[in-house]
Structures are given as structure tokens and as C-alpha cells.
């Protein structure tokens, strides 16, 4: 009884500290996961906490569970509309890219540490996958939103690359346990089975789950729980039949995230919280599990491998995997830098010891330190690098926070509630001029808890709440007017030098209107075609080309086509 209460108290206290730490790191820009890890280490055997925790199997159980929940959350956030530009490149990174990363890192371990080649490759495989949760947590905390091409590619990549790394790791562990060579055929069939069953189970059961959610009447708070339990069941059963449970649960998440379900916002919010809890729990646990004093001898080799991983293996993997997709170099560089290693490698590093290999704690310690280096070096710099490489979305294209209430009927309408913020366009706007596109209807404005009389054409002011009824999936169009225009680093007044241009406007017309030089062979192209050409047929919001002193930026994309373009003037020199 006493012991139970102690466990509850210590566990909860650590979690509380971890949550509160997020408020501090938000200011300092330190990667949150690093803080969790350090908290765990402080609570552990070498720290003031002095807690002894060395149970690898228990750690593995919790670790897998936490990972599954994090990947589910990633799947829930995947939007089908981003697949057009990002699915193929992401899958290339998640498969081919992982193999290259693992091979190059393995080779480095072989040359630098003179380990036997099986062990070297095993280390490469363990650190082969990237961690989306880490990347996106950091970017969100810094208020950076990425352009779709880089953002969605990273998101889908890190949702889908864990199965590959797991597969490689399991294979190499088997290779070493059996100590007889696995045939190429056995490897290929294992791979096909893992991926095939993962895909099949994910799609079939995910679809079933989404139908069930639509038709089974549950109390509101049970919907998110139903998703969680259903998805984890899929994860479990897929693993049991020999498929990749991580792939399956990602697909389940993506299916549910993309179907219009009752209370989809509750589902998202709940899983966001669950993913955080999993991150906190997992990193605290891993911090507890490690014995920092054992780390000293492996510091140098770990740093060497981490540097090769960050500066050679990942960039090479990105370059080769994205070769067919012709990404702009800035985005390739950014994706390379986002090869953050997170929890997956640490969990995978438990595999060798669970399989009963000798010297297996050495893997755990080595990998732990590699992840630590990656978290510090890349984690700390990711937001500034995003700004420096200009892969950020233009301010106007960000969707502001709002409440939604989905009405479950045939019309698929949703109720949107926006708060008018100080720096938004809506602030000070006459209600009658509120732009409502795509069939949105204004229901009313609530000020100080009272519904305003619309007959007076009230002027919106900050803290008003505007209620709009709109077709599902159109919130982005209404959001613009409520988005905060404030740019954190930019206190100077905004320069209003931007015009809308129809994408069908020909370069010849622009050239004669603005005296900009256009090569004669481009004359008949429209600006939309020119932009698309510059980005290999797949331009996304925020992509930009310059012609003379004018620059043209993709402003909206609808159904894969450029819907409007912004023309930007250079600010005059005083």
C-alpha cells in the first residue's frame, strides 16, 4: 500500500515537473524532449533522485505502447490533401532513405570504432529512423509553420519510417542470434510480410473503425477513447500476425483523421494530450533507465557517429531519396537537418538485450548518447534554421486557432467559433463586410457573453467571438481574416506592397505592364504555369519566383491547381 502510493506520487510529480518544464523551454528554445530526458536522469540512480530502474522488458513494453500512441497521433494529423506533393517523396525517404542512413552510419561505426560489421550495421539500423513528434513539437513551440512540401514530407516520412528501421534492426539481431547468414530471399519475404500485412490490416481495420465511430452512439467523452482502444487493438493484432503494427496504426490514424466524424476535434485534442503524455513518460523512463556514469567511455565514439549521421548519412539519404522529386535545395537542406533522432532508436536499442545478445547494454548507451547529441545540436537549432532557409509558410496562410463543432448529418456542416484578436484584420471590421466564401453563413457575434444585434452592423473588436456555419473542411478560407498578423520578430510596420494576380495572367502582359524582362520563350506562359514549371509541376503555397525586381508567390492552391498568386514589390529604398 505504502509502496503503491510512493510510486503514484513520484510518477505524478515527475510528470508534473515535465509539464511545467514546457513553459520554461518555450522561452529558452531548448528541446522539450531533452528536458524530459534530463529530468529522468536526475531522478535516476546517479542523480539526486536515486531511483534504480533497470527493467529492460518493462521499458520495452511501455516504450512500444507510447510509440504506438505517438504514431497514431501523427496519422490523425496527416491530411489527405498533402499527399499530392508529399506522399511519394516521403515514402522514398521512409524506405530507401532509412536503408542509406543505416548503411552509411553502419559503415562509419565499422571504420571509426572498428566494430565487427554485423554490430556496426545493427547500430546503423537502430538509429535509422527520424522522429516527427520531436521535430513538430519544436517547430510549434517556436511558432514556425512549414510550407506544405517540406512539412508534409517530414510528417509522413516520420510516421512511416519506423517500420523500416524496426525491420532492419530485427533482421540484424536475428542474424547475430542465429549466427548463420540469412538469405536475401528470407529478408525480402520478411520485409514484404511486415509491410504488406501492415498496410492491409491498417486499411481494412482502420476503415472498419471509422464506420463504427460513425454509427455507434457513444457518449461524447468516449469517442476519443474508442479511437485509442480501437487503434491499439489494430496495432496489437497486426504485430501478432507478423505485420508491422506501427505502419498499421499510422494508417488507422490517417483514415480516422481524414473522415468527417462527430467530435473530430475532441478526438484530435485528446490524442494530442495522449501523445504528449507518451513522450513525457517515455523520455522520463529512458532517462531513468540509463546509468549516466556508464556513458563516459562511449562519449567520443558516440559523438563521432552522431556527427557522421547528421552531416553525412542523413544528407546523403535525403539527396538520393529525393532525387526523382526535384525538391528545391533549401527544402532538401532543411529536411536533412530535420533528421532528428528521438525515442524510436532508444527503444530499438533495447532489442539486442531482449534477444539475449552479449554486450547489449553498450548498444543502449551508445544509441542513447547519439540521440542526445542529435536532440541538442539539431533540436536547438531547428526553428532558426527553418527561418534561415525560408521554408516557413507566409504569415497570411496560417490557420488561426478556433473551435469547431461538427454536426453529424448528411450536410457535413460544422460550426466554427473564432475569437477576434487584436492584430487580426477582423478587429475593427464592420460585421456587414466580413468576407464569407464557400457557402459560409454568419450566425452571430458574442460579446461579453451576449449575442450582438446584427441589425446595428456592429464593428468587431478584440475578444468578440464570431460564430460561422460552414461546410466541412473549409475553415482555412474563413480563418484568414481572424489570423493574427503579428510577426514575433517583426515590429516594423508592414509594407503593403502585395497585389493579387490571377494565375492565368500571361508573362507577356506582366512584362508590358511592369517593364520586367521576360525571356521571349516564356512570353506565352501564364504566371501560374511559370510557377508550376519552376517547382516541377507541384508548386505549394509559399513557393516563390523572381522576375526582375518583382517576386511572385503561390498564394492559394485548390485541388492541386494554383488558385491565386501574390505579386510582391520591393520596398523602396529611402
Amino acid at each position: 500500500m505504502e509502496l503503491t502510493n510512493q510510486f503514484i506520487f513520484i510518477g505524478a510529480l515527475l510528470a508534473l515537473l515535465a509539464v511545467l518544464a514546457s513553459a520554461v523551454t518555450r522561452k529558452s528554445g531548448a528541446p522539450l524532449l531533452l528536458v524530459f530526458l534530463i529530468l529522468g536522469m536526475l531522478a535516476g540512480e546517479d542523480g539526486p533522485g536515486g531511483i534504480k530502474f533497470n527493467d529492460f522488458s518493462l521499458a520495452f513494453l511501455f516504450g512500444s505502447l507510447a510509440l504506438a500512441i505517438i504514431i497514431l497521433d501523427g496519422g490523425l494529423g496527416a491530411r489527405r490533401s498533402t499527399f499530392r506533393v508529399s506522399l511519394k517523396p516521403a515514402l522514398s525517404l521512409a524506405t530507401f532513405g532509412v536503408v542509406i542512413t543505416a548503411a552509411v552510419t553502419g559503415a562509419a561505426a565499422y571504420w571509426l570504432l572498428s566494430l565487427p560489421w554485423q554490430q556496426s550495421l545493427l547500430i546503423g539500423a537502430i538509429v535509422g529512423s527520424t522522429d516527427a513528434a520531436a521535430v513538430f513539437g519544436l517547430l510549434r513551440a517556436a511558432g514556425v509553420e512549414l510550407k506544405e512540401r517540406a512539412g508534409a514530407t517530414l510528417e509522413i516520412e516520420s510516421g512511416t519510417n519506423d517500420p523500416m528501421a524496426i525491420l532492419l534492426t530485427v533482421t540484424f539481431v536475428q542474424l547475430m542470434v542465429l549466427s548463420e547468414p540469412l538469405s536475401g530471399w528470407a529478408l525480402a519475404s520478411e520485409f514484404t510480410q511486415q509491410m504488406g500485412l501492415g498496410l492491409l490490416m491498417g486499411f481494412a481495420l482502420g476503415y472498419l473503425l471509422s464506420i463504427m465511430l460513425k454509427h455507434v452512439p457513444l457518449s461524447v467523452s468516449l469517442y476519443p477513447l474508442c479511437v485509442l482502444a480501437g487503434a491499439l487493438s489494430v496495432f496489437g493484432i497486426t504485430n501478432l500476425v507478423g505485420g508491422s503494427g506501427f505502419l498499421a496504426i499510422y494508417i488507422v490514424g490517417a483514415i480516422i483523421g481524414n473522415s468527417p466524424l462527430p467530435y473530430h476535434d475532441d478526438i484530435h485534442r485528446f490524442h494530442d494530450g495522449m501523445a504528449w503524455l507518451s513522450q513525457i513518460g517515455m523520455f522520463l523512463m529512458l532517462g531513468l533507465l540509463i546509468t549516466p556514469s556508464n556513458l563516459v567511455p562511449i562519449v567520443l565514439p558516440a559523438i563521432l557517429i552522431a556527427l557522421v549521421l547528421i552531416f553525412v548519412a542523413r544528407p546523403l539519404a535525403v539527396l538520393l531519396s529525393l532525387l526523382p522529386f526535384q525538391f528545391p535545395w533549401r527544402e532538401q537542406l532543411f529536411i536533412s537537418w530535420c533528421g532528428l533522432r528521438g525515442a524510436v532508436p532508444i527503444i530499438l536499442a533495447l532489442f539486442p538485450s531482449l534477444a539475449g545478445l552479449e554486450d547489449s547494454t553498450a548498444y543502449f548507451e551508445l544509441v542513447f548518447f547519439i540521440v542526445l547529441v542529435s536532440l541538442i545540436l539539431q533540436g536547438w537549432t531547428i526553428a532558426p534554421v527553418a527561418r534561415w532557409l525560408k521554408v516557413e509558410l507566409p504569415v497570411s496562410a496560417k490557420d488561426p486557432e478556433h473551435l469547431t463543432l461538427f454536426m453529424a448529418d448528411d450536410q457535413n456542416q460544422e460550426l466554427l467559433v473564432y475569437e477576434v484578436v487584436e492584430e487580426s484584420q477582423a478587429n475593427g471590421m464592420n460585421l456587414a463586410y466580413l468576407p464569407l466564401a464557400s457557402g459560409g453563413q454568419l450566425l452571430g457575434v458574442v460579446r461579453n457573453g451576449m449575442l450582438l444585434d446584427r441589425a446595428d452592423n456592429p464593428i468587431l473588436s478584440s475578444q468578440d467571438r464570431v460564430l460561422i456555419l460552414a461546410p466541412y473542411g473549409h475553415s482555412a478560407e474563413f480563418g484568414k481574416v481572424f489570423a493574427s498578423k503579428r510577426d514575433k520578430d517583426d515590429v516594423a510596420p508592414v509594407f503593403l506592397g502585395e497585389f493579387i494576380i490571377h494565375p492565368s495572367t500571361r508573362l507577356r502582359e506582366l512584362s508590358s505592364q511592369y517593364d520586367i524582362e521576360v525571356a521571349p520563350r516564356w512570353n506565352l506562359l501564364s504566371i501560374g504555369e511559370f510557377l508550376n514549371r519552376s517547382y516541377h509541376g507541384k508548386a505549394v503555397v509559399g513557393d516563390e519566383v523572381s522576375i526582375g525586381s518583382l517576386s511572385f508567390q503561390v498564394r492559394e492552391v485548390e485541388g492541386g491547381r494554383i488558385a491565386s498568386v501574390t505579386m510582391k514589390l520591393q520596398a523602396p529604398v529611402d
Binding site: 468576407p435 481574416v481 503593403l496 497585389f499 493579387i500 506582366l510 520586367i516 514589390l569 523602396p572
Partner: protein, 147 residues
């Protein structure tokens, strides 16, 4: 370039009536052709409309900078106008527009067009200038608010 180089007091109109984008552009063309003999109303209007076809010149915050190229002009000509009611203008921020700073640029003038546009845009990005433009009660006040 300064605003007073291109705008004469006669080319300002405060609190114009007009409930549509087309009507506003017509009024601008009328003012330009009255104040600058030799300018054809139709030619001015066509030039402005031609540019609007490429996309709205509403740059946000209730401001539009209609512009166009015109043959036979010897220098840049501007018209500044405010409307008594904001007018729907398909502006970049979807907000209706009540401040219009139109410019007509000679077809032959090869340089400086973009610089002129940028200078005007910058002037109109200034919150104090906007406030004075919106509070102007006469054409003269409007003129003084911008130069």
C-alpha cells in the same frame, strides 16, 4: 520620386459617392481626363480595367492602387480619392476598400514604374497617413494628408 511630383490638388476627391468597383474606376477616369486635357476618359478607364483583369489592385487595409499604362502620356499622373462607403473590391484581404490612389504611367517610360508603385504603397502603409486620409473632410485636406 515624391507624391507631389505626380499628384495635383485638383486630382483629389474626398468622400466620393459610388457603390461599385466599376463606378469608382469611372470616377477616377473622369477626374483624370478633366484635370489633364488631352487625356481621353475611355482610354484611361480601359487602361485601369485592363490591369484589374489581371487581379485586383486592392492591397489590403481598405486601400487600392489602381494603375495602368497609357500611350501618349508625358509623365506619371495620379488621382487620390476616398469613398463615403467602403466598396467591394476583391482586395487581397477580402476587405472592402475606401481609399483609392490611382496612377497612370506613360507606355514609353521604361524605368521607375515599380519604384513609383512601391513608394505609394509604402506611404499608404503608414498608419498616421491613413488616419488623416480617412478623416479628411475636403479635397484640400485629402491632398495635404498625403503630400
Amino acid at each position: 520620386m515624391e507624391i507631389k511630383d505626380i499628384l495635383i490638388p485638383g486630382c483629389t476627391l474626398c468622400a466620393a459617392q459610388g457603390s461599385s468597383k466599376k463606378r469608382i474606376l469611372e470616377t477616377i477616369s473622369e477626374i483624370a481626363s478633366q484635370q489633364h486635357p488631352g487625356l481621353e476618359l475611355d482610354a484611361v478607364l480601359t487602361s485601369l480595367l485592363c490591369r484589374e483583369k489581371m487581379g485586383s489592385t486592392g492591397i489590403g487595409n481598405g486601400i487600392a492602387i489602381p494603375h495602368g499604362r497609357l500611350a501618349g502620356l508625358d509623365k506619371v499622373i495620379a488621382v487620390l480619392m476616398t469613398s463615403d462607403q467602403p466598396v467591394a473590391y476583391d482586395a487581397i484581404d477580402n476587405q472592402p476598400v475606401d481609399i483609392f490612389f490611382a496612377i497612370l504611367v506613360p507606355e514609353e517610360q521604361a524605368q521607375g514604374h515599380l519604384q513609383t508603385l512601391a513608394t505609394i504603397a509604402k506611404k499608404l502603409s503608414d498608419k498616421d497617413t491613413l488616419k488623416r486620409l480617412r478623416h479628411a473632410r475636403s479635397n484640400q485636406e485629402l491632398y495635404e494628408a498625403i503630400v
